[in-house]
Symmetry: C3
Subunit: 140 residues, 3 copies
């Protein structure tokens, strides 16, 4: 059984955001799946998806601090600069962090660890709405 | 055909560890799958999974050396510090390296390259047992 | 329905290369799939797969520039040096960027965003032919 849908995530400020609930709200179908996987794919090259700690907000702000140091906007060696200082750095962060997640499904829910949540990592200053394709492969 | 199971990996010291055999030992079912994929997912935010060189142990120790330089524990800009100097850095390494792997299955085995092995990357000083969900989607 | 095949990518120079068309040329079967996912897996530990911007070639050259600074070949702390200065750095880049992609399939095509393309990231100076396993799980 395969279920696929495209959803739009509400615009987020630059930074790392917990979106587990927002994803769940778009997936009433998940309840019907006994065993399977969910593939969550972002159709953009300047925002990323990851799984990380779902409790302390400073983990998310420390992530933003760290990745801004790792991929500095004031680097002088980039040639792709026409779209702003936050563009090439966003592409690089996207390749480091990744465009998709696969999460196991067990008894109608994401089978995440106690401390795991789904993050949208918005790398642009003004990223706008982000489109996500979710594909569920599972059995009832 | 979907097979899903939760396994526990034995506690590992901080560093990069080859776990291909340990995973195989938990998966006698693999022999029955002619074609498919295996999703291997770690339910933690301070240890990661990757695939890399399976022969020379210095590849694994060089990985540990490199990632400790990439995400330095003596950085003064982290706010999430209550759980120890190896905690926020572990979350960052987890987001860089990743929480899950998908490996093709062909004729009852992981279809890995000659030099590829599965690594558990233990980022904490004392990580303990790590829980893994394996989901196989395949055909006999 | 599961389709799996091994393909060989033509040798590429060191750097980041757009391979969306080369992958499509190997996948006439894709047209038959209404909904599903494609798993693209590289059987090597010194070349990677990612998805990123498919238009401006300077994005790809900036990626190469950036990753060479991130993982410097003149570092003196590596022990795995017998296979050349570009070997251990290639393994690290592979673990940062990743060995596999999952792409949603919708109506016989990869459901990528307008600006997304598939990259082969060749980290070795002379990487040669690269073997890829593609596994499609889908419904007609």
């Amino acid at each position: 059984m395969i279920i696929q849908k495209e959803i739009s995530l509400k615009p987020k400020s630059r930074g790392f955001h917990l979106i587990t609930s927002e994803i769940y709200n778009h997936l009433p179908e998940l309840k019907e799946i006994k065993t399977g996987i969910a593939h969550i794919f972002i159709k953009h090259t300047s925002a990323s998806l990851t799984i990380n700690e779902n409790a302390d907000p400073t983990v998310r702000s420390d992530m933003e601090t760290y990745f801004n140091k790792l991929v500095p906007e004031n680097a002088t060696y980039f040639e792709h600069t026409l779209e702003g200082k936050d563009d090439m750095t966003s592409h690089i962060k996207n390749t480091i962090i990744g465009s998709s997640l696969i999460i196991p499904i067990t008894n109608g829910k994401f089978n995440l660890g106690t401390w795991q949540g789904i993050y949208l990592c918005e790398h642009r200053n003004y990223g706008g709405t982000r489109k996500i394709i979710i594909t569920i492969l599972g059995e009832r």
